[in-house]
Structure formats: C-alpha cells, structure tokens
C-alpha cells in the first residue's frame, strides 16, 4: 500500500527527528572515524598529519590485532553456543511445566532487563578471587580461581557474564518456537515408536532450525558488538590481551592508548564486518530453512 501526501513538505517534516538523530549520532561519528583513520593525531588532539593507509598497514601487520580477532571469534562462538544450548534446555523444560508456567517463564526473562554493566559487576563480585562466593567455593573444590592472572579463566568469566544476559532472549524465542511445533507431530512420532530423546532430535529440533539460525546470527552480533559493558566491568580486556575483543580494543587503543588514528582504522574494519553480517542476516533469514 502506498500512502500519498498532498504536500511535499509534510513527510520530510515527520521524518526529520529520526533523520536528525541518525545524522548526529550515527552518520557524523562514522564519517569522523573514516576521516580519522587516514590521519595520525597527537595525544592532545592539537595537531594531525595525513598518513594515507599507514594506520591500516600498521593494523594488519600487528600480531596483537590478529590475536584480538581470534579472541573475538572464540568469545563470540562460545557465547552463542553456550547461551543457545542452555536456553534451549530451559525452553524444553518450561514447555513441559504445567503448573506455575507463567511464574517460571517470567523469572527466566528477568536477566534480560539487567543492564550489561550491572551484569558484569554481578559476576565480577561472584567470581572475585578474594571474596566472591563462587570463587571461594571453587577454591574449596580445588580449582585455583583467579581470573586476574589466568587468561582462560578470564575468558570463561566474560563468557558466563555475557551468556547469562542473553539466555533470556534466546529462551523466549526457543519457547515460542517450541510452542509452534504442532502437538500432533510429536504424538505421531510417539506412535511411530520414537523415544522422547529421538523425537526431539528428529522432529522438534529440525523444525526449530529457522529459530536456531536466527538466534545464532543475533547472538554472534551481540557477542561481537554489545558486550563491551560486560567486559569492561569484569576483566577490562585482561589479563594481558586475553579478553580483548575487537570492540574492546577500539576503546582501549583509542581512549587508553590514545592512538586515535589506529583506533579509527579498527572502527572502519568493524564497520565493514557489521555491514557483512547485516547482509548475511538479511539474505539467509529471509530465504533459508523455512518450513510449511
């Protein structure tokens, strides 16, 4: 349906607030980053010098940058896979609950309302090596927990903190997906002699694949770009570079290391990645794995 306005001005006027917000908070900074990526600026921002592609050249010859890429991949896939598995497990169980269903489901949705930084702080306290209850319990169980010193443990901590927040979201989608699977299919499979386990893997799980694929993309995007708050509140990218994701590195190099040009070059690379992921998301979600 096409709506036609009698005057030419009104539609523009109605669009103006949104366009202004987009221009000031998205387009302008993006343009700034693009521009800055080609300059070298002194730490106080008083002078700058055009250096062409040197920032990019430095970036792609820096082993730390590749390290950060690998960290991001490990982190993102861990968050996506752990978060989705747990959410699916919870959704399957919630789908079977008959009494108190609503209370159970509401409680599971709560973590999503917690701000990323708070989620980070919460897990930071729980795992603090000297006073965190979980860390102390781990110590009594013989695990020497100290994520300030141990890079792998730091990674586990940020994965837990990031995953915890995302489980609610995944849970909601999986629950809706499960409820959309017709009961009669499961009954037919039961009559066909499939065990509950087999019914899940041969009937329910394949029918959930559109949901699963959608969530995989959403979770990867989340882990890539929206976990800055969690990482900053728990490990600050450390120890060493062990939890420095690409996004965290942009911040760290730019605002801590004050290498604004290098940081801007990294932003440009990230922009390209976002663009690519958006294309994938739209291409696949619209076409792939649709049943009925």
């Amino acid at each position: 349906m096409t709506v036609t306005f009698p005057q030419k001005g009104l539609p523009w006027l109605l669009l103006l607030p949104q366009l202004l917000v987009t221009a000031i908070f998205f387009l302008w900074p993006a343009e700034q980053a693009l521009e800055q990526a080609f300059y070298q600026e002194d730490a106080f921002g008083l002078s700058r010098e055009f250096i062409g592609l040197e920032n990019f050249a430095a970036l792609f010859t820096d082993p730390l940058y590749y390290q950060s890429m690998l960290t991001t991949l490990v982190f993102s896939f861990s968050v996506a896979i752990v978060g989705m598995s747990l959410a699916l497990l919870l959704a399957v169980m919630a789908d079977r609950v008959i009494r108190g269903k609503l209370a159970y489901q509401t409680l599971l949705i709560w973590p999503y309302a917690v701000a990323p930084a708070l989620a980070g702080v919460l897990w930071w306290i729980l795992f603090d090596p000297s006073m965190g209850p979980i860390a102390l319990w781990l110590k009594s169980a013989g695990v020497d927990w100290n994520h300030y010193l141990n890079g792998n443990q730091a990674m586990i901590l940020v994965v837990i903190a990031s995953t915890w927040k995302q489980i609610s979201y995944n849970f909601l989608f999986f629950l809706a997906g499960l409820q959309a699977v017709p009961r009669s299919l499961i009954e037919a499979a039961a009559i066909d002699g499939a065990s509950p386990f087999k019914r899940f893997w041969t009937i329910v799980f394949p029918l959930l694949s559109p949901t699963t694929f959608f969530l995989l993309v959403v979770n990867l995007v989340y882990a890539f770009f929206e976990t800055f708050g969690v990482i900053d509140a728990t490990t600050k990218g450390g120890p060493g570079q062990s939890t420095t994701t690409l996004v965290y590195k942009v911040f760290n190099d730019g605002f801590v290391g004050l290498d604004l040009g290098g940081s801007a070059a990294q932003s440009v690379v990230l922009m390209a990645i976002v663009g690519l992921m958006t294309v994938i998301q739209f291409r696949f979600i619209e076409r792939k794995v649709q049943y009925s």
Binding site: P182, S184, L185, E187, A188, A189, A190, I191, D192, G193, A194, K198, T202, I203, P206, L207, Y291, S292
Partner: protein, 357 residues
Amino acid sequence: MTDVILEKVGKTYPNGYHAIPSVDLSIEEGEFIVLVGPSGCGKSTLLRMVAGLESISTGELRIRGERMNEKEPAERDIAMVFQNYALYPHMSVYDNMAYGLKNRGMAKNLIEEKVSDVAAMLGLTELLQRKPRQLSGGQRQRVAMGRAMVRDPKVFLFDEPLSNLDAKLRVQMRVEIRQLQRKLGTTTLYVTHDQVEAMTLADRLVVLNKGKAEQIGTPMDLYNKPATPFVAAFIGSPSMNLIDANLTEQGIKISEALTLPLSHQHRGGIVWGIRPEHLEVSDEHNADFALRILAVESLGAETLIHGKVETELGNGDPMVVRLSGPHLPDVNSLMWLTAPVLHWHLFDAKTQQRLRD
C-alpha cells in the same frame, strides 16, 4: 475373535472434569467401528485413550487380550491418522512412511520394499521424494494413510481424517478408505462428527453423547430402531421429526386438538417421532393431520417441505416432510399427510429410552 475391548473405560481430567463416565465396547477382528457424535461428546478423547495419547482414568483397555492401560503408544501396535495428517514437514514422503519402521530397527532393504509396496497401492510412487508441502490435500491424506499402513498394525485409528478435504474429495476418499480397510482386514476405529460418513463407513456405529455411548449397533439398527431421541435425531438426514406428546387411552395426544389413535399400555409423557421420508401425502378425508407449508427446498431428486402441524387451535409443532422427485406446493398452503404407524418411534420422555413396540 474379539480384538479390542474397552471395559468400563472412563476419563476424568486433573481439573475434575468428567469427560467420559464409562464406555463398554468390544470390537471384532477386522471390524470397522465408527465413533460418532456432536463436538465435545468425547469421541476424540476416547480414540486418544485407545492410542495411548491420553491416560485411561478408570476401566481397562485390552488389545488381543493384553491389558494396554500402562503401555506407551508405540507399544500398542496401533497406527493413527490425524485430522491435520501430522506429516513431518521436513521429511520426504518416503521418510515420513519409513520413520516408524526405522525407529523399530527394521533392515533398510525391508523398509524400502514395504514402503514401495504401500506407495504403489496408494498411487504415491511418483511422489516419494516430495516434501509434504508440495502435495495436495488428497495426496497428504494418502501419505498419512500410507504411514499408518506400512507398519501393518493391529488397529487403525482415524481422527476425523476427512474433515480438511473439500466435499467432492471427501466422498472419494471415503470410498477409498472403506475399500482399503476391506482389503487389509485391519480392525479400525474411526472418529467423525459427520453422520453420513459414519453411516457409509461403519460396520457398527457408536453414538456418543456427553461421554456416554447412547447406542451401539449397525447403521441400519440405528436407523430403524434408535434407542433414544438423541440417536433418532442424530442419525438420518434431515433429522427425524420429534414431538413431545402424551400417551393416553385414546392414543398419542400431540396437542389439545390432535390425537393419533394407538393402543399401548404405557401412559404419560413421551416423545413421538417419525422420519421425514416416512410421511405420506394424503387427502383431507384420509389424512392424520395437516401441515401449513413454510418453506420448500427442491433438490431435484427429492423435495424437503418445512411446515407446522395445523389444527383448529392454530399452528403447532414444526415438521419436515421428504418427498422423492420434484414437487412445487405453494408456500402457506395446506398439505394433508398420513403417518403410518409402522414407522412411529416412541420414547419415554423421562428416561429417554425407546418404548417397546
């Protein structure tokens, strides 16, 4: 040989709702039993209890002499055709049919043989590699039946399998189901709310009303001697004319001004019934009563005349007359009718049971 026995089978839901008080039914081997009744009468629940998809609250279900109450659906050796077919949408027709056999650990070449046999019988050979969404309604219906047949079960269960098809296809599939069942000789329990489907398919019918079996018998038994007014009204189309009346010494007193003579020892309130097709057109002198015509439905092969019984005291009970061939009486005119005693049905108004003739 008795194949399936339901003994005082009842269903009470956890919330206390008493869906089925108690049903007794024994089904012979190879028999085609149709459970029929209005929606909410418990017919699907009863079928699902036989399938093992609903628990049995009271009573016992036996298949070939073995108690089934605690058995899983898969262990009962039954196959079910669902109303929406319940085909697995992500599997090909072949995989849909093979799924049950694979789960039972049958050898691959044996599965292939069985599936292709059944597919050939149902005319599905060309469609084996298709997905369900690429099939028409009638083809899906056939695949659902194929999936049930391929396992060669003791009992077929059908849950309103034709209600999603258009009228023409429904008639065609009805005939096919009947032929297949005859050919295979598999005991069948079939649920429908359509009395025509029920009458044409069944060896025996079970008419359910509010979870109770009102009557069990052959289609002709139920047509000729309905046990209750409910069955009388449910079986036959258009329904039997049923009128509240009183049985007195003079006969059946339908209203102050109309009494049909009859000698019967029963006294008191009754329901008097006669089928539309058993009323006969007569003349003023020989008629039992007159009908004021309200509407005429001409169907070509037959004509349905809707009217009200008219006496000196005014219009009374509504009545339908079914005449064969085309007739075109004027609306609002009077029609004289006789109701042959032979075709009367009498029910006790209080107990709702048929009175002995």
